[in-house]
């Protein structure tokens, strides 16, 4: 239960974990662009290799990665199905009754898989696995700070997000404790009809809401005691280091390379 609370974050010491979270958000965005723009078989090869490289850099076990890919498997299969059976081209490989499979369809299906795979690796490796949710919020606040000039309350939104994230583990832990306490009194959460199970949650939800309210009030008092009033004059001390800038430059070159390969239009272009 507690693993859910901490999101997907995977604690480890790696170059990716050490990168500035703002840079990581930018890296993820650029990487997604690269995966989306890529149209070329060499480009896809490069993408695939880069995805594996990124996983290695983040020191995340492949097992964990594959577990996160399983929910998307269905989407992949769906896309592959349509690409294979509904693409018309010149290279007819197989025909039976009304079904025709063309070489182009297989290419497209392969590319779709690579594209989805790299999109997921890109976002999860840069954002969820190696960046804590709190770091991510700071990063988003910082990157969106130009909007403050347009009177968008960026800081308030970021603070709300931080607080919400901060209390997920607390509430999950509390829900866990309350469920245990009610189980000790013979509560049964796992058998009975849907209605019965929903009713069985009442002894958990009421104490949980009560405690959430208490947390909110206590937190508000604690924040006011420290004179917090969200005027946005606070700052986070975190400066970009040389390695952060270097990573950004490498990623921009990577995107440029992918686009260049598109222009060359080598071998096969979808």
């Amino acid at each position: 239960m507690k693993n859910i609370a901490l999101g997907q974050y995977y604690p480890a010491k790696s170059p990716l974990h050490r990168l500035d979270p703002r840079i990581k958000v930018l890296l993820a965005l650029i990487y997604i662009c690269a995966a989306a723009f890529c149209k070329n078989i060499i480009g896809f090869g490069v993408l695939l290799v880069s995805a594996l490289l990124i996983v290695a850099l983040g020191r995340i076990p492949f097992k964990t990665i594959f577990r996160s890919l399983t929910p998307v498997l269905f989407v992949m299969l769906f896309a592959v199905f349509f690409q294979v059976f509904f693409t018309k081209g010149d290279m007819l490989l197989f025909a039976w009754w009304k079904l025709q499979i063309y070489g182009e369809g297989l290419y497209l299906a392969l590319f779709t898989i690579v594209r989805i795979f790299t999109l997921i690796i890109g976002t999860s490796m840069f954002l969820t696995y190696t960046t804590t949710p709190i770091e991510l919020t700071y990063a988003i606040e910082d990157l969106l700070s130009p909007l403050k000039k347009l009177k968008v309350p960026v800081h308030d939104f970021a603070m709300m997000m931080t607080l919400a994230l901060r209390f997920i583990p607390t509430l999950v832990e509390e829900a866990d404790k309350i469920m245990t306490a009610q189980k000790a009194r013979g509560a049964d959460f796992s058998t009975g009809s849907l209605v019965q199970r929903a009713k069985a949650l009442k002894p958990v939800l009421i104490p949980l809401i009560v405690s959430a309210m208490r947390h909110a009030v206590e937190l508000a008092v604690a924040m006011e005691c420290r004179c917090y009033h969200g005027d946005g004059t606070r700052m986070v001390v975190r400066k970009c280091r040389f390695s952060d800038i270097a990573a950004l430059i490498v990623m921009i070159i990577f995107l440029a390379g992918i686009i260049y390969l598109n222009i060359l239009g080598l071998v096969y272009t979808a």
């Binding site: 404790k177 309350i178 189980k183 000790a184 009194r185 009442k202 002894p203 104490p207 009560v210």
Partner: protein
């Protein structure tokens, strides 16, 4: 009388994740029926995990938990019956209160047992009586009570199931001295009347010394001492290894003994120390006369 025993039990928190912790490591023990057993240890020593194994809230990764010689996990579907026989009061149990009235809240456990309304009512009044909540309190909302009263109402919720073994995890945590005193005297009262086995988890040596017949000491997931109160407290060096200390008053007595004063060192409460010192004083004045 039900007897809990644990055979070579190990337990992990967060198994298979990067956060895996070995909470219990090959623990074997036996809760002697009709006694008050204290389980003591530092934060994170595994004492709460241990008691959650006793009533089948947690399932051991290795080893067996036996109730009257039968493995409690032999029939996983009937684990609820184990929970009715081994009542567990969790830490800060007041957070489990949820009903509109205290009466209904205390009745939650007995109702899950499938008892008749009449029997439930009887048990609610009895349990509330044990923890010093009068009949006039029963129709109040549990959220209107003071902290100490909430705690006692929650304990009554377990007592109302009439468990053979009552386990309390830090029953007095966060209460003022008067509240602590009240909770413990309620527990003692209950024990005297019901004759059930009681297990108290605590990190306060003073509480252990005062109320428990037997003491078990946990350290880093292992059971390092197990015996009667006198046996355990006579080895302050071993307690120190676990980062624990003997009661302050016993320490004082040991220091007196070191200076050549013939006091009884098996003294764990200030009342006993008072008697012992008066006895010495009288002996002393008798001799000098």
């Amino acid at each position: 009388m039900s007897e809990i025993s644990v055979e070579n039990v190990s337990f992990f928190h967060g198994k298979g994740t990067p956060y895996e912790i070995k909470a219990l490591d090959g623990v074997t023990l036996n809760i002697v029926p009709n006694t008050i057993t204290g389980i003591i240890g530092h934060t994170g020593s595994g004492k709460s995990t241990l008691v959650e194994l006793f009533n089948g809230i947690l399932k051991p990764a290795e080893g067996r938990v036996l109730l009257d010689g039968a493995d409690i996990w032999a029939k996983p579907k009937e684990i609820r019956n184990v929970r009715f026989r081994v009542g567990l009061v969790m830490q800060y149990p007041e957070s489990q209160l949820f009903e509109e009235t205290i009466r209904q809240d205390i009745a939650f456990g007995p109702r899950n047992m499938g008892l008749s309304e009449q029997e439930i009512e009887e048990r609610v009044i009895e349990a509330a009586g044990f923890v010093g909540l009068g009949k006039d309190m029963l129709d109040k909302s549990p959220f209107d009570l003071s902290g100490g009263q909430k705690r006692r109402a929650a304990i009554a919720g377990i007592i109302a199931m009439r468990p053979d073994v009552l386990i309390l995890d830090e029953p007095a945590a966060g209460l003022d001295p008067a509240g602590r005193e009240a909770i413990f005297s309620n527990i003692m009262e209950y024990r005297k009347n019901s004759g059930s086995t009681v297990v108290i988890v605590s990190h306060s040596m003073e509480d252990m010394a005062r109320y428990c017949d037997r003491v078990m000491v946990m350290s880093e997931g292992k059971l390092i001492m197990n015996g009667t109160r006198d046996e355990v407290f006579s080895k302050p060096e071993r307690l120190a290894e676990a980062g624990l200390d003997i009661p302050q008053i016993t320490k004082l007595m040991l220091l007196l003994r070191e200076r050549g004063i013939e006091v009884d060192t098996g003294v764990y409460t200030s009342e006993r120390a008072y008697e012992e010192l008066i006895r010495l004083f009288k002996k002393d004045t008798a001799q000098s006369r």
